[in-house]
């Protein structure tokens, strides 16, 4: 029964062995694929049955872990979420754009991790307060209304798959730009009522190569597989900078 649904597909995959190759090259694989496969299933099939030397990252197969992002015919996509039936004749699989290649389809994420740490993506409290501990024992943890949760929940859905970095035209030109996911996650904690670290994060956000480097091409939000809308976060952060700037004009020092 399955054989009837099978078809032959030529898949072009980027190959790069840092010990032997100067530059990445491509290799073609002609394989029998099933209609209900995701792109990741085809890559796993090649790895298991055709060419065990192929290297790629993957884990959960359900668009949660964020490790299988690749360029499919030039577009950044999660391979576990993309149906192979979307590609009739030709499929070209490359490692995520705008990142250094480690090997084949595996990219080096260290640059992102550094940017990510910079925005302090955790709850920052001004100081550990006595009432914090009191609240903990009496009412449970910090209370937060559904409306307060809704203001940032969308931005907390980011899985760090880095598709937005591969799509961002500013990153392509200025690799030092802090980028969509890092801003979205920093902004997520700025919006969190439990957090008191917005001053520290805004100092980063309003420095060089940050929110105002964004030219609002909106590509990050177009490619995001979790509908995080990082472009909205970046522009909300810009607006926050404008509001604080205006407050600084009206209020005396420290008022903002």
């Amino acid at each position: 029964m399955m054989a009837e649904e099978a078809r032959t597909l030529t898949i072009e995959i980027t190959r790069f062995d840092p010990d032997r190759d100067e530059v990445p090259k491509t290799q073609e694989y002609e394989i029998q694929v099933q209609d209900d496969w995701k792109v990741l299933d085809a890559i796993n099939y090649i790895k298991d049955e055709v060419d065990p030397s192929l290297s790629h990252r993957w884990s959960c197969r359900m668009a949660v872990c964020g490790s299988c992002g690749m360029m499919l015919n030039g577009e950044p996509k999660l391979t576990c979420k993309t149906a192979l039936s979307d590609y009739d004749s030709k499929l070209k699989i490359e490692p995520l754009a705008n990142f250094p290649i480690v090997r084949d389809l595996v990219v080096d994420m260290d640059g992102f991790m550094e940017k990510f740490r910079k925005v302090k993506p955790w709850i920052v409290r001004a100081k550990e307060r006595a009432e914090d501990m009191e609240n903990l024992s009496e009412k449970g943890t910090f209370s937060q209304s559904p409306a307060q949760l809704a203001s940032f929940k969308q931005f907390s859905m980011c899985i760090n798959c880095l598709l937005c970095y591969a799509a961002c035209p500013v990153i392509a030109n200025e690799p030092e730009f802090i980028g969509p996911a890092a801003i979205a996650l920093g902004h997520r904690y700025n919006l969190d009522t439990r957090d008191e670290g917005d001053g520290q994060r805004n100092a980063i956000f309003r420095g060089e190569g940050t929110v105002f480097s964004c030219s609002f091409a909106n590509e990050c939000s177009e490619v995001c597989p979790k509908n995080v809308d990082p472009a909205a976060a970046v522009n909300q952060a810009k607006l926050g900078a404008v509001v604080d700037w205006a407050k600084g004009l009206i209020l005396p020092r420290g008022g903002a």
Partner: protein, 118 residues
């Protein structure tokens, strides 16, 4: 220059946003009315005859609207050209290029104001 631009980024972006809204919405509507609706007779051509346009343009409110209609899209244009310069790998020159472009936009507005003595 670069650090000055970075400091002024909020107001640069605010003026750009205003120019973007005006340039894409109001000016498009204006072109639709003057360039299409009037010649097609959908709007009475007398609505913007010389005396009416003159009195509109010489009231204080009219002058302020005209200033916004001219200055903000010019600022938006300067900002777009600055982004274009960065896109063409001009990141290192951004301070001087950006500063020059905004200066040209401001000078153009001053020039226009001087000529029509708003």
């Amino acid at each position: 220059m670069k650090s000055l631009l970075l400091k002024l980024e909020p107001i640069i972006w605010l003026l750009f946003g205003a120019g973007l809204s005006i340039g894409t919405m109001l000016l498009t509507g204006f072109v639709l009315i003057v360039g299409l609706a009037m010649p097609m007779g959908l709007v009475d051509a007398g609505a913007l005859d010389y005396t009416r346009a003159y009195s509109l343009g010489s009231s204080l409110l009219g002058r302020l609207v005209l200033l916004g209609l001219i200055a903000l899209p010019l600022w938006k244009g300067a900002h777009h050209l600055r982004s274009l310069s960065i896109d063409f790998r001009g990141g290192d020159r951004d301070g001087i290029v950006g500063g020059l472009l905004y200066a040209v936009a401001v000078c153009s507005v001053i020039g226009i104001v001087a000529v029509i003595r708003l």
